[in-house]
């Protein structure tokens, strides 16, 4: 065979394949030739079958087929509709040509023949139209293979196919009809339509016009709903494609079929305790559908909000809460991803929707007599779950519940009534009959007994939702007094003070561990700080309550400059201090705004105080690029591994150099981040304001400077003198403060100007300089490391070089020794021979000369033989081609060749002779 390969295929040339490639080229070419030019139907069918099998097995053949085969097979598909076997064969060959052959050993960047072939085939819109027309054929395999081809084309050239199919009249209708075909075809069509509808709004609409919703739901029902197999998953994926950001289709589903069909998929039937992987994926897909309806149409759609609201209303009217609560809260067997998705849907259903808020707050779960409000159950999840993700989602429900819902907040806050200590200290399992407030307070103070601040900080997060933007609730919760854990030791204390105590406790626990920021603790402090920051906002009484205990201010000042605290913790502590200034309406000396500003300026320095703000704003949590984590749509491939839907704990947080716990990026929502940002400017303004109007210790009343009636000169002078003394001491005070400020200013960078803008930019510069310095340090460290490494490698290299040199010289001396030995041997042999022949003259070695001559002759003849073989090969290929042609022309080749065979024999004979 190798000899015949004089022909080098175009593909072989282009891709420089090895011999076998060009071999396959000619093989494929001959098969194609037989198909297009053959006369005997059986021969053509055989050729097609051969072609299919070789294309299915070898990448070389796939390449060769791509270069030559499409016109031939398209011709077959177009012209020979009556020959079902031929059509089937052609389609099967196309499927093989488009299916990647798994070649584990092949290099990664090699040309993918299957990909190239899909590209070639999809380039002609006419081909697509031809393929679509085949879907109306009677034969099952014809439709089946055609669908497989179309799916392969869609996977690789999605946009081109989508455009082509849109322009083909009734193209989509044909594909839709396949959903009514028998099961195998239907399932294949589902996959195809899923690809077809991806991000193609117009195709999505046409599908729906053609009744896709009805068909999808009837298949889901037929297959057993959420208990069904992968077909249900495929149906739901298609359904989700049709609804994603497509308001028109959402309206149609709502107005025509209603949402009942989708909601009923969430209904757990049969074995509600068994959640297979497939069932979990089905449920997640159905929850994704609900989520898509909650998100409404695309961003640009003007009617987006109305559509979204109506979807929410209708979903709740259809009792979606019952199913979501069952999946997300009540079912003990539902896997965590399902619970989380259900909770997320609940949160999105209520946010900004008063009616749905009411509905949720009136829901009760459980059976008599053990019923409790759904909200309590969700709170219990927050306090007790071991999954961080579940905590985040449940917390999100409360955030959504409290957003723009002051009635709801008040309702929740009204139940916050402290229980006697014995009750508060009861084991958490006994909370079924507790009110929401008692459970929350219990959670808040649970750390008291076992030092576990995790539950406390989760409860704090819920409490901050309840207090947010609601002055009545803030005031109300301020009045809550807790009994001291050891009543004998003291009076009760306000809840707020307890929270500050836990805040301090959290940092102490860290110090005890010796580690600066274990992940476990790194979110406890920020979350408690968030509660306090939310609490103090716009609430002078809260600020007063906070400052009522002197150590609080001291602790906070320490926290701001504590190097072992995270950037976030320091920043939030700075924010809290700022709130103590802004919202401080107290006139009481030692607790007023002036005192706080003074303390900041003396203990921290204003510049470094604002630096803490800047640092925090630059951190990941507050950066504008922080986007809400988009969970990608569940596709078959994504769902294939359940690990995809993992807990937030497992998420790789190292990709954005982030010292903060991933939980925080969910807890610090955009509202809070924006609020903190807006506070900064406010703090600056207020501090300047406080400084520009220092509270005078001496009241200057002009009338008092006058000589009073009946006052003696001496008294007058005495009075004036004491007045002047007071003023003098105040001036001293002010001078001292002025000096501190000047010092601060000088520290900022020596700038003489006292423009506030420059001061801020000074702070900014400093931060930048600091980061630069840090970067520089890192870089130089790295350079040092690299240098050391280089030196090491160099020394190693020279060592090896030496070694190599030594080896070489060793070798040389060895070979020298060997040579001399050989020489000696030679001499000895000669001597022996001379001795043997006894001095007689030796005749020339005839045998040796003979052998030499023979060798030369053999070499020559071999070269000649090779030439002849090449000639023969060419001849043979020519003969083969001619005989094929003759065969087609109907000549009896064998007969013709009878005489020729003898001639052909001659060179062979002569070869033998030469030998």
């Amino acid at each position: 065979m190798d000899l015949v390969s004089g022909y080098k295929g175009m593909v072989g040339l282009v891709f420089g394949n090895d011999n076998s490639g060009s071999n396959e080229d000619s093989y494929v070419e001959r098969l194609l030739d037989r198909i297009s030019n053959g006369v005997l139907p059986d021969d053509r069918r055989n050729a097609m079958a051969e072609l299919q099998s070789v294309v299915a097995e070898s990448r070389g053949a796939q390449l060769a087929f791509g270069a030559m085969g499409f016109p031939v097979l398209m011709g077959v598909l177009k012209e020979e509709r009556d020959d079902v076997e031929m059509i089937r064969g052609a389609l099967e060959t196309l499927v093989s040509a488009l299916t990647p052959i798994d070649h584990a050993k092949g290099p990664q960047n090699e040309v993918q023949p299957a990909l190239m072939n899909t590209d070639l085939l999809s380039r002609e819109a006419e081909n697509i139209s031809l393929l679509l027309s085949l879907l109306s054929e009677e034969d099952f395999y014809v439709r089946y293979y055609t669908l497989q081809i179309l799916t392969a084309l869609l996977t690789n050239s999605q946009n081109r196919l989508q455009e082509a199919i849109l322009t083909i009249p009734r193209g989509i209708t044909r594909l839709m009809d396949m959903l009514m075909d028998r099961e195998v075809i239907r399932n294949e069509a589902l996959l195809l339509l899923t690809h077809l509808t991806r991000e193609a709004e117009e195709i999505q609409k046409i599908l729906v016009f053609e009744g896709a919703f009805e068909k999808i739901f009837s298949i889901i029902k037929e297959e057993g709903g959420s208990e069904g197999g992968v077909v249900v998953q495929d149906c739901l994926e298609l359904l989700n494609n049709l609804l994603r950001k497509n308001a028109s289709n959402q309206v149609l589903l709502r107005e025509t079929l209603g949402f009942d069909a989708i909601i009923s998929i969430l209904k757990l039937r049969g074995s509600s305790y068994s959640f297979t992987q497939q069932k979990t994926i089905n449920l997640l897909s159905a929850l994704e559908t609900i989520n898509l309806l909650l998100m409404g149409g695309s961003e640009s759609d003007p009617g987006k909000d109305t559509n979204k609201l109506t979807n929410r209303t209708v979903l709740v009217q259809n009792k979606v809460f019952d199913y979501l609560l069952l999946l997300g809260v009540e079912s003990q067997w539902a896997p965590i991803p399902v619970r989380c998705a259900a909770l997320r849907c609940i949160a999105d259903l209520i946010v900004g929707h008063p009616k749905n808020l009411d509905t949720l707050s009136s829901k009760v779960l459980g059976e008599e007599p053990q019923v409790e409000p759904a909200l309590n159950s969700i709170l219990r999840i927050i306090l007790r779950t071991s999954s961080a993700q579940e905590f985040i989602e449940a917390d999100h429900v409360f955030k959504s519940f409290c957003e723009r819902n002051s009635d709801g907040q008040t309702m929740l806050a009204s139940t916050l009534i402290p229980q006697p200590y014995s009750m508060t200290n009861a084991p958490i399992e006994e909370d079924v009959r507790m009110s929401f407030g008692s459970m929350l307070l219990h959670g808040l103070t649970l750390g008291e007994s076992d030092g576990d601040l995790e539950t406390c900080c989760r409860a704090a997060s819920v409490l901050s939702h309840v207090l947010r933007d609601n002055i009545q609730c803030k005031e109300r919760v301020l009045r809550i007094e807790l009994e001291s854990p050891t009543p004998s030791l003291g009076a009760s204390e306000p809840l707020m003070h307890r929270m500050v105590k836990y805040l301090a406790l959290a940092s102490n626990m860290k110090n005890k561990d010796g580690k600066t920021s274990t992940k476990e603790n790194s979110y406890v402090q920020p979350i408690i700080l968030k509660l306090l920051v939310t609490w103090l906002a716009d609430c002078p009484n809260a600020a007063q309550c906070f400052l009522a205990s002197r150590p609080h201010l001291t602790y906070l000042l320490e926290l701001v400059s504590n190097p072992s605290a995270t950037t976030c913790t320091r920043g939030l502590a700075a924010v809290l201090l700022g709130e103590c200034v802004i919202y401080n309406k107290s006139g009481e000396s030692g607790k007023d705004a002036f005192t706080v500003v003074d303390a900041i300026s003396q203990k921290i320095g204003l510049t470094s105080y604002f630096l803490k703000f800047d640092e925090m704003m630059k951190s990941f949590l507050f950066s504008p690029v922080k986007t809400t984590k988009l969970h990608k749509p569940l596709t078959r491939s994504a769902a294939a591994s359940m690990e995809e839907i993992e807990d937030v704990d497992e998420q790789d947080s190292s990709d954005h150099k982030n010292e903060d716990h991933p939980i925080l990026s969910s807890i610090f929502d955009s509202h809070f981040v924006n609020f903190v940002k807006s506070l900064e400017g406010n703090v600056r303004e207020t501090i300047v304001d406080v400084y520009s109007r220092p509270k005078s210790e001496v009241a200057v009343v002009p009338a008092e400077l006058e000589l009073k009636r009946g006052e003696s000169d001496k008294d007058y002078i005495e009075r004036l003198k004491s007045f002047v003394q007071k003023q003098c001491s105040e001036i001293q005070n002010l001078l001292g403060r002025n000096a501190t400020l000047a010092e601060n200013l000088a520290k900022t960078g020596g700038s003489v100007s006292s423009q506030p803008e420059q001061r801020t930019s000074g702070g900014f510069d400093r931060v930048q300089a600091e980061t630069l310095r840090r970067d520089l340090q890192e870089a130089s460290q790295r350079i040092e490391m690299l240098k050391a490494e280089k030196a090491k490698i160099e020394s190693e290299a020279s060592m090896y070089q030496n070694l190599a040199g030594k080896m070489e010289s060793d070798l040389k001396s060895l070979s020298d020794a060997y040579n001399s030995l050989e020489q000696a041997n030679f001499h000895l042999e000669k001597e022996v021979k001379a001795l043997k022949s006894g001095g007689a003259s030796t005749p020339p070695d005839v045998e040796a000369i003979k052998a030499e001559a023979r060798e030369e002759a053999q070499k020559e003849s071999e070269a000649e033989l090779n030439d002849l073989l090449v000639c023969l090969g060419q001849e043979q290929s020519r003969v083969e081609k001619l005989s094929a042609r003759l065969l087609e022309l109907g000549e009896d080749v064998d007969k013709l060749l009878e005489g020729v065979g003898d001639d052909m024999g001659l060179p062979e004979d002569s070869e033998k002779e030469e030998d």
Binding site: L166, R170, I172, E202, I206, F209, S248, N249, L252
Partner: protein, 211 residues
């Protein structure tokens, strides 16, 4: 939600003749003087009652621009009724009717009921096409005809309901095979089909339908 029949409609005609406004007036009972160009196709739905029978109308409002034709044609086949709209103040929109009709005849179900609508009839002072011309075109091509105004809502209900009446009539005359979904008609779950055929002889054809 329950209905006796569900009819699929399309609205076709040149760009700017007021197709989307007619739909909005019909589904939401409001008029939007400035309307964005329709991209592709928009959907609207409403329930109507014809002779005590609840009927669901699903309406696809198509983009009039030439560039969307290949997309909008996909909707022709599955529609039971079409509103073919022109603007009485713009002669060229009337002149294009023939090509629209040809398109519809080529791609649609032959039994599709078509209602010709001369829109913007509130702008009588700028009229460029007389009512008689519209009537004549409708008569020659076997269409229903109405002049309407999406702004004043005049004849808007009548246009949609009149078309539905015609379709219902066709069903009773046995023109359609209602079990075939490609006819654009679906029988509701509510009532058995055809059982009350005798009573359905009188279908309300309100408004000034002719043709």
């Amino acid at each position: 939600m329950s209905y006796d029949y569900l009819f699929k409609y399309i609205i076709i005609g040149d760009t700017g003749v007021g197709k989307s406004c007619l739909l909005l007036q019909f589904t939401d009972k409001r008029f939007q003087p400035v309307h964005d160009l329709t991209i592709g196709v928009e959907f609207g739905a409403r329930m109507v009652t014809i002779d005590t029978r609840p009927i669901k109308l699903q309406i696809w409002d198509t983009a009039g621009q030439e560039s969307f034709r290949s997309i909008t044609r996909s909707y022709y086949r599955g529609a039971a009724g079409a509103l073919l709209v022109y603007d009485i103040t713009r002669r060229e929109t009337f002149n294009h009717l023939a090509s629209w009709l040809e398109d519809a005849r080529q791609h649609a179900n032959p039994n599709m009921s078509i209602m010709l609508i001369g829109n913007k009839c509130d702008l009588a002072h700028r009229r460029a096409v007389t009512k008689e011309e519209g009537e004549q075109f409708a008569r020659e091509n076997g269409l229903l005809f109405l002049e309407a105004s999406a702004r004043t809502a005049q004849n808007v209900e009548e246009a949609f309901i009149g078309t539905a009446g015609k379709i219902l009539q066709n069903i009773q005359d046995g023109v359609f095979d209602v079990s075939n979904e490609s006819s654009g008609i679906k029988v509701g779950y509510g009532r058995p089909q055809g059982a009350s055929g005798a009573r359905d002889g009188t279908v309300a054809q309100r408004g000034g339908c002719c043709g």
